[in-house]
Structure formats: structure tokens, C-alpha cells
Symmetry: C2
């Protein structure tokens, strides 16, 4: 399953790079007219499989994708919160990290912390 360097996946990567926030499928669709829905989903899921992006599930039930910036090859940490604005629907990273001390017997595989509310821009 070697990955290929296609125009579509490059463009999706560029969008992820230039966006500060986590990006929804919808937002990528809007910027890539002519590319099929399923294709974009597949590209994003491939990135996620490869550990290139984090997948965040908002409290709206939708998926958001963000480039892994501070994650190296060895560690893939994602124990920080995201903030989703209920007005503009932007999803941004918050600095706040959290240590996952699980109760005895539980195995933590994924952390998904989303705080929603009104962001700075929409508030002012």
C-alpha cells in the first residue's frame, strides 16, 4: 500500500497547511470544486492512517482534520483541547494539554476534547 503523490492529495495537504484551524470535509469541498466527495474523505482518512493529521470529532458530531504539528515519528500526542465556535464553526487548537491518567484496567487509545462556545472573533 505505497502512497502516491496525486494532485488531489497535494491540494488537500496545502489547504490543511494554510489553515490555522482544523478543517471540515465541507470546507475542503468548497475549495476543491470538481473533486468527488468520497475522494476527499478517502484522502483525509489516508492522512489520518498515516499519522499526518489528527481527527477531531466536534460536539456537532462532525469530523475535523488538523495537521500534526508537534507530533514526531515516535510520538503522536493529541492530548490537547479544541475549541469549536458555534457561530462561525471554526475549530481551533487550544494550548491546554491534559494528562491521561486512566482508572485501573482501562486502555486509552484516543482523546477527543472539544469545548464549544463563542470565539474571540464572533464575540467582539
Amino acid at each position: 500500500m505505497k502512497r502516491r503523490n496525486t494532485k488531489n492529495s497535494q491540494e488537500v495537504l496545502e489547504i490543511l497547511q494554510k489553515e490555522e484551524a482544523a478543517v471540515s470535509h465541507e470546507k475542503i469541498m468548497a475549495q476543491l470544486e470538481g473533486v468527488d466527495r468520497a475522494t476527499i474523505y478517502r484522502i483525509l482518512n489516508r492522512f489520518h492512517e498515516d499519522g499526518k493529521v489528527h481527527k477531531i470529532v466536534g460536539d456537532d458530531g462532525k469530523q475535523y482534520f488538523a495537521l500534526c504539528l508537534n507530533c514526531g515519528e515516535s510520538k503522536h500526542v493529541h492530548n490537547h483541547f479544541h475549541f469549536r465556535c458555534v457561530q462561525c464553526n471554526e475549530v481551533v487548537c487550544l494550548d491546554k494539554e491534559i494528562s491521561l491518567q486512566m482508572p485501573e484496567g482501562y486502555i486509552a487509545e484516543n482523546f477527543n476534547g472539544v469545548i464549544s462556545g463563542v470565539c474571540k472573533k464572533c464575540n467582539s
Copy 2:
């Protein structure tokens, strides 16, 4: 909009009471045969509007509902984590609380923290 005490809403409440975990729409459906899908959604959303239940969105994108136990009339706190088992799909409350110190200008309205992995039961 005065609420009425119907057989359906009573039964949903009982299910929520006897369950330790947070309950999905699906699980309630299974225990209330003959009641319409939409009705159950409406009951749960009404409970949520009234502040009777917390609504948790799992990293599977689905909604889970849990009775507010430690929430009084005045305060409605929900700053604790939930754990979703990817095998048995149970969603339980974790004790871990978190304080929401938001960056300047951000207004936090809702907290949704879900850790997923394998639970004690499924692990052993």
C-alpha cells in the same frame, strides 16, 4: 410549553436512571419497542433542554445521554470526562474533572471530553 408526564417519557427516564452509563438513542430504542424513533429523540432533547440530562457526543459522532446527578438547579456542570469503549460501546463517566480556563475573549458554553479505548470489562 409546559411539560406533560407521559408513559413514554417516564420509561425513558427510568432507563436513564437504571443505567450507570450514558445511553445512546439506539439502546433506548431496543428497550422500548413500539415507540417511534422520532419520539425518543424528542424526549431526549426535551430532557436536555430542561437540563435533566447531559448530552455527550462520542468520538464516533453519536449522541449519548446521561442523567445529571451532581447538577443542581443553579449549576449545571459537566466538566468531567467520559470514556467510550470501542468494543462494547459503553460510555461511562470518569471522575476526572477539568477546569475551563479559556483564553481571553472566548466564551465556553459546552464541554465535551471523551476518551476512547478499551474498558475494564472488555480488557480482561
